[in-house]
């Protein structure tokens, strides 16, 4: 019934969809196995993509040839570029999506992907031979063989859902949990542990009083996520979100349910993230705060369903309801579904290599929440990398590994496999040491060529990048040679209270002033405007960033060069650490467990001292 596949992807969430699309697009015969074909690419949590650090990741996925950016562009109901008042490294695209349209668009993309088959069944186990994964076993008893398998099980592995004192098995509400895989992997020698996450209630938008909330509109300009041309809505079509706040009475009401809370009654063993706490966690840990912000987010164009972001909870439904009713605007709220907490198995990611292939079993890859991460974007980028590397592995080609100075994706994977994680891992810009280099505006310039060389990004994307590079270079040239006279610009400078010129100055010099933007000059200096009339906005913006932030960019590049000294010193595989008595006991233990690939990675493992790295270096010779 089944042919032999190159790559089987288990699970069709954000990680699974990207993995399957990447492997198939690169030419692998790929099978996507999911428990339910109706729930491909579900947004199980809030209906939004991007945000700070996460938006940068989506741009990177797109630059590499993944689909998350395109799908988001095509399904968004609102777009905002966050942090616009800060430096360009902080500009972060975020979109509110139509939940159903998002899934539909993904399914469309996958169905149009060559080499990709689908099958609906639960994978209960793996086919493993000589420490190599060679396929999967399904609930219906099928043995499907493949050269490589990517597991993207999300929260489904032995998932347990908690609502107050009720608890039941499930991967999402109303969806069965998956069993068998954890047990088999533990038997094979894997270490597994439990994590916890949660979602807020969904309510009927018709029952809310928006006059009591603050409106949060979309931007006047929709930049979007994809570097390719995508069909996006017009700014005026956007839907608004709303902001309201809890208060002390809400908190007091929630507290009446604490004795029945699965968290406080000790029924949940899994560790939840500190930065995405449930509402009960917030009022417990931050008792001094008399209110918490709630974001009221529409679920789509054609539904009245509303997602109450910020009110994640696993308290009994009636407590959720009574408390939410006290929130301004929610006095007459009608529930669609209550919030819940979910516990699930994950495999501490120090058991992985940079390719996301497991160290124990060859040709077995993990991506997404199974690695202890949280978030669609984090999952999707791992799926993409696992899909690419599964394909490359089966074709016996060099793997694609992104460094910390190249991409947030590189930071994420390096953090996971070098440091592991004890709580659901979410990306922050502060996790990246080269934040100024890893901007959303240059993801294509950073990554598309690499992906193209490895065979994923299309010729079309590559051409677009080359064109952008060329145009930006031209603009830089023009700006650095274009003289502006005092007579021409002083009135403009006076208007914004910027110091006047006494002699001619290059346009590029003027833009260095923090209060002068290229757009302002273009608007007011017709000679300049005519030179750049043929340029796209993103090209002009790119050139402006490169001029304005040049000193910061150069500083970081110097640091990268320094770091790369260690990054380029690879440690031989199966290096024998036990023969080095001079290493500290803790470092030796960590090195043996994590098996760092380079001295750079070794130096980032927590508990490793600089002297341990030096000792390693000496033993390795060059």
């Amino acid at each position: 019934m089944f042919q032999e596949y190159d790559v089987i992807v288990v699970g069709a969430g954000h990680a699974g969809c990207e993995a399957a699309a990447a492997a198939a697009n690169m030419g692998s015969k790929t099978l996507l196995v999911t428990m339910n074909m109706q729930t491909i690419a579900q947004m199980s949590c809030n209906p939004a993509m991007g945000g700070i650090a996460k938006g940068q990741i989506v741009r990177e996925i797109d630059a590499l040839g993944g689909y998350s950016g395109i799908v988001t562009d095509e399904s968004m109901i609102q777009f905002r570029m966050l942090n616009k008042s800060k430096g360009p490294a902080m500009w972060s695209p975020r979109a509110q999506s139509d939940r159903m349209l998002f899934a539909l668009k993904w399914r469309e993309k996958l169905e149009h992907t060559p080499n990709l088959d689908f099958y609906q069944d639960m994978v209960k186990g793996l086919l493993v031979k000589d420490n190599r994964c060679i396929g999967v076993i399904t609930g219906l008893g099928h043995h499907i063989t493949a050269k490589a398998v990517v597991l993207t099980n999300g929260t489904f592995l032995n998932g347990i859902i908690h609502i107050g004192e009720k608890q039941f098995g499930g991967g999402r509400v109303a969806e069965k949990a998956a069993s068998g895989i954890t047990e088999q992997l533990v038997e094979l020698g894997f270490e597994s542990d439990r994590l916890k996450t949660g979602t807020p209630p969904r309510v009927d938008g018709r029952s809310l009083d928006y006059t009591k909330m603050d409106e949060q509109k979309g931007d006047d300009e929709i930049v979007g996520f994809s570097f390719s041309d995508t069909k996006k809505i017009k700014p005026e079509q956007q839907r608004s979100c709303w902001i309201t706040y809890t208060n002390q009475t809400v908190h007091d009401t929630l507290k009446t349910g604490f004795d029945r809370s699965p968290m406080y009654a000790g029924r949940i063993d899994g560790v939840g993230p500190r930065y995405c706490p449930s509402i009960e966690d917030k009022i417990n840990r931050f008792a001094e705060r008399d209110r918490h912000q709630l974001f009221v987010e529409p679920e789509g164009w054609n539904t009245v369903e509303i997602y109450v972001n910020g009110f994640s909870t696993s308290l009994p439904e009636e407590v959720q309801y009574e408390a939410l009713r006290i929130v301004p605007g929610f006095e007459n709220v009608r529930f669609f579904r209550p919030g819940y907490a979910i516990e699930y198995d994950y495999f501490p990611p120090t058991q992985l290599q940079y390719t996301l292939e497991t160290k124990l079993i060859q040709n077995l890859f993990f991506a997404g929440q199974i690695n202890g991460t949280t978030g669609y974007e984090e999952a999707a980028c791992q799926g993409l990398m696992a899909g690419i590397n599964a394909h490359l592995k089966t074709k016996e080609k060099e793997p694609l590994i992104l460094s910390r100075s190249e991409a947030y994706i590189g930071v994420l994977i390096d953090d996971l496999i070098s440091k592991g994680t004890e709580e659901p891992y979410r990306m922050f810009t502060s996790r990246a040491e080269f934040r100024t280099l890893l901007r959303q505006d240059n993801a294509d310039l950073r990554l598309t060529k690499k992906s193209f060389d490895f065979g994923l990004a299309s010729q079309e994307r590559m051409d677009a990048v080359l064109n952008k590079e060329r145009e930006v270079k031209n603009i830089l040239n023009e700006l650095n040679n274009f003289n502006i006279s005092p007579e021409e610009v002083n009135p403009l400078l006076e208007k914004i209270q910027s110091a006047s010129l006494t002699q001619k100055q290059k346009a590029g010099q003027l833009i260095l002033r923090p209060d002068i933007s290229l757009a302002y000059l273009l608007e007011n200096v017709p000679r300049l405007q005519s030179i750049f009339s043929g340029n796209k906005k993103e090209e002009l913006e790119q050139a402006e960033i490169q001029i304005k932030y040049n000193i910061y960019i150069e500083k970081e590049k110097e640091l990268v060069a320094k770091m790369n000294n260690l990054e380029h010193l690879s440690i031989p595989q199966n290096f024998n650490y036990t023969n080095i008595p001079a290493l500290s006991a803790e470092a030796r233990q960590k090195f043996i467990k994590i098996q760092p690939r380079t001295l750079g990675q070794a130096s980032r493992i927590s508990g490793v001292n600089p002297s341990d790295v030096q000792i390693l270096m000496v033993y390795m010779g060059r």
Binding site: M90, Y275, P277, N309, T429, E433, P514, A582, S611, Q614
Partner: protein, 452 residues
């Protein structure tokens, strides 16, 4: 950011001779700028024009001040121990001359070598074989252990606590800055730039003071200050003369002869001490001039690095000096006139002398020296730790000034953050705490309610 960034193409410096005081010490630099760095300190000729494997005599200067007359040996790459350009400076053995030279090299752009780093470079440049690697690794392990132990203990003048406290406050600010970047969409309070500037100024003040205290030129000029405190006629001036071997202070039997403060410099094994003889302290004196002197004595005692509490063994009256107890840590009790009889119940660290005949004066000199250098730490370690702190403090200062410029120009937090992290990393080298990133994120999650 990883605090463990390894630098490769820079120039390193360290003392090459064995610890302790010999007549001659050798300071070695290795790296592509080593000749240029020493050339900027060397006065008699242009070292960059000299051939390899040659010796040059001349004066080494830091600014206009002469540090020492030295012999400089040049070994150019690849014909050197490490395979890089090497300069060896042979100087006089005084630890303070050695430290001054190291400091000067650091100021010119060298970095203090890590333990075993010369040998490591030699190894990496193919100058040693693998069997020697084990020995090198052992050196690195043992020395990094030793330097860790001495790290914080040695900071002068109680600044270390200040620095640790300020570092913690800087981490909080770093967290606030990151918070407003990563969680700008949420309902949290953000960093107050005025308060931040205030903190940066505070840090700058402490850093500058510390840098000042590390300036060995300063120490050589000003010396280690020693105040002699005691009752009138306890023999303070006699002791000063005995230490100096000359009649500097007016000596008489009349109590209260010394009314001014007398300062003299004394060189013990290359360390300069500035001995301050003060007016004797009586509880009640009718003499106003003497009262002024007493006031000055108390203030001198407070400022001095070391206090000699001189007690007359023949004086049976009580000599409590209750107020001196606050300075216990830096006080040496010295009993005078041991030859004239009399006795006291003393501790093992107390010293018995007869200033007039010179009994015990040499012993006192040794004790002073140990007090100044720190007796449990060998000299080389002290210098190395000092130099490490010194070079880290210079980097802290640089980062602080960058932060300040950024704050005054009102730049966005993401552009301030790299300088803050750099500052924290170098502060961490001094205080021995290096996990900056974890501290920042920990502070964010611990203190602020974030997440939807």
């Amino acid at each position: 950011m990883s605090a463990q960034l390894q630098e490769w193409d820079d120039t390193i410096v360290a003392i090459a001779t064995a610890p302790g005081i010999g007549a001659i010490a050798v300071i070695r630099l290795s790296g592509k700028n080593s000749i240029a760095i020493v050339n900027r300190l060397f006065t008699s000729k242009n070292l960059e024009e000299q051939p390899t494997h040659t010796l040059h005599v001349g004066l080494l200067k830091a600014g206009v001040e002469i540090i020492d007359e030295v012999v400089v040996a040049l070994y150019k790459s690849p014909r050197s121990y490490t395979g890089e350009d090497i300069v060896e400076i042979s100087c006089h053995g005084s630890p303070f001359i050695q430290q001054q030279i190291i400091d000067a090299c650091i100021q010119e752009g060298a970095r203090l070598a890590k333990p075993g780093e010369f040998t490591q470079r030699a190894f990496l440049n193919g100058k040693m074989d693998l069997t020697q690697a084990e020995a090198v690794a052992d050196i690195i392990a043992s020395q990094s252990q030793a330097s860790k132990q001495t790290a914080l203990k040695q900071l002068r003048g109680g600044f270390s606590n200040d620095l640790s406290g300020l570092r913690n406050r800087l981490i909080e600010f770093a967290a606030l800055i990151e918070l407003e970047l990563d969680f700008s969409q949420e309902d949290v309070a953000f960093a107050d730039r005025d308060q931040f500037l205030f903190l940066i100024n505070e840090l700058s003040t402490v850093t500058d003071k510390l840098i000042g205290s590390f300036r060995l030129g300063n120490v050589i000029k000003n010396g280690v200050s020693v105040a002699i405190i005691g009752k009138p006629n306890a023999g303070k001036s006699t002791l000063l003369n005995a230490l100096l071997n000359e009649e500097r202070a007016i000596v008489s039997d009349i109590a209260g002869t010394t009314r001014d403060t007398i300062e003299e410099s004394l060189n013990i094994n290359g360390v300069i001490f500035r001995i301050i003889d003060t007016a004797g302290i009586r509880e009640h004196s009718g003499d106003t001039i003497e009262n002024l002197g007493i006031e000055r004595s108390r203030s001198n005692a407070g400022k001095a690095s070391i206090i000699i509490h001189l007690i007359d063994l023949t004086d049976n009256g009580s000599s409590d000096f209750e107020w001196l107890k606050q300075f216990n840590a830096k006080t040496i009790k010295v009993y005078n006139k041991v030859d004239a009889g009399g006795s006291a119940s003393a501790n093992e660290n107390d010293i018995f002398i007869a200033a007039k005949s010179g009994i015990g004066v040499e012993q006192l000199k040794n004790v002073l020296y140990k007090h100044a250098i720190g007796e449990e730490i060998n000299i080389e370690n002290t210098i190395i730790t000092n130099a490490r702190h010194y070079s880290a403090l210079l980097k802290v200062k640089e980062a602080l000034s960058d932060i300040k410029v950024g704050l005054l120009n009102n730049i966005s937090g993401d552009l301030l953050a790299p300088d803050i992290k750099r500052c924290l990393n170098y502060l961490g080298i001094i205080t021995g705490e290096i996990e900056t990133d974890r501290d920042i994120l920990g502070t964010i999650f611990g203190k602020f309610c974030i997440g939807k």
